[in-house]
Symmetry: C2
Subunit: 247 residues, 2 copies
């Protein structure tokens, strides 16, 4: 590596400060500085549609959304899950049109702002730019992390890692992580993970037998997770078993 570090000026730039602050701070800041349209959504509501002209950005105040992408050959894939504080609509900025559907998975509240309005407001409020860029940056790193896990891991680890990322997302938002209400069917989970619904079902059963998850008494859509870290350990164990492969 002939390239040494870049010429770094001595004074510490503000650029390196983690942008955006806490989640609730960001939401409060947005509400105070932007004319947001707030509305309630219900499971199944499509709030962004593929092909639609890009005009709005959306911020989730509550609820959960899935992003559904359509491949060239007509199959559709769930490319991500979104929670409180996440933004929707970034995909439209570059081309002027959206490339995915965003679908509500339960009732929630959505804040929407026109992109041009946001840009105007941003010129007089640097915190707004910081929040926007932080959100886009997070989206990039999050997608990347998700891809790493979902593309590489064997089925066991893939499902476990999916649950781990989910609980982690809840944890970051201060919500309880010892139980999950899965609003997705096994087929949807499989679709998202690149597995069949049967494999997902089998892995969940295996995770239950390993006492890492427990199903709700009422429904196997509810998961109890006594110790979220057990999921991470399970993923590592799967890798240690199967992957001497490096590089």
């Amino acid at each position: 590596m002939s390239t040494t570090t870049l010429p770094t000026p001595p004074q510490a730039p503000a650029a390196a400060a983690p942008a955006g602050g806490s989640l609730t701070e960001m939401l409060q800041m947005l509400r105070q500085t932007l004319p947001m349209q707030r509305r309630l959504v219900h499971a199944g509501d499509v709030v962004v549609q593929s092909g639609q002209r890009f005009e709005w950005l959306h911020v989730l105040n509550s609820g959960m959304f899935k992003l559904v992408a359509l491949t060239a050959d007509g199959r559709e894939r769930i490319s991500g899950l979104y929670f409180k504080g996440d933004w929707l609509g970034f995909d439209g900025i570059a081309s002027g049109h959206h490339t995915c559907d965003a679908v509500a998975m339960d009732t929630g509240e959505l804040w929407s702002v026109r992109y041009d309005v946001l840009l105007d407001a941003a010129t007089s409020c640097p915190a707004l730019v910081a929040a926007l860029h932080a959100a886009m940056s997070r989206e990039i790193t999050r997608d990347r992390e998700s891809m790493m896990a979902l593309c590489t891991l064997p089925a066991d680890a893939r499902v476990a890692e999916f649950l781990r990322q989910w609980t982690q997302a809840l944890e970051h938002r201060g919500q309880r992580t010892d139980q999950l209400r899965m609003s997705m069917t096994r087929a949807e989970i499989g679709n998202h993970l690149g597995l069949t619904l049967e494999t997902v079902s089998r892995v969940l059963s295996r995770l239950e037998r390993a006492a890492i998850i427990r199903f709700g008494e009422r429904s196997r859509r509810e998961l109890h997770i006594a110790e979220p870290r057990a999921l991470a350990r399970f993923v590592e164990a799967s890798l240690a078993r199967t992957a001497p492969a490096l590089q």
Copy 2:
């Protein structure tokens, strides 16, 4: 191309206009409005390092880079390839630190600008914001598209789709698409695609037998692609064969 029309009347938002204009226009605009540090890089140079404090954004003026991510358990994955006009470093904005290595794959020229300097300049130049947002948005959609292909497809289609995306990237940059100099080893390609190097090798041989690609006389690192669209057709054919599965 309406790159400079940002503050707009409410009815017809410029937000929907494809931002950034052409690639050469964007590069020219950047050079004129920003104090960029230009430098040459060579194969193997690490221009961004994981863990490094975020301070700079980089724009590729020429050459090709790979982004290398490290998983929690120490494996490393090539999470993307970058070409002329692409930006590097967005992953650092949110957290203040980079999460990937960016490594040059051949000689090229890199333009670097401090993020805080860019933000300052952006307040007086809307086109700069537009270009930045467009680049981030493109990164999001590109990663997503790449994930769709690389996670879902069977090995044959995965390699073919990888080549297709590569030639498409070259096409968008006005470079010749009938031949590829693969600066990656089979192992690196496999690493990126989630396949073993043997499988990559087999698929490439199969693609040659199917007369979709031809190897260079000198080296099997050079590919001739008579008709890039044949790659797309091959991907579709693979899917038609294996995937009655929908939903």
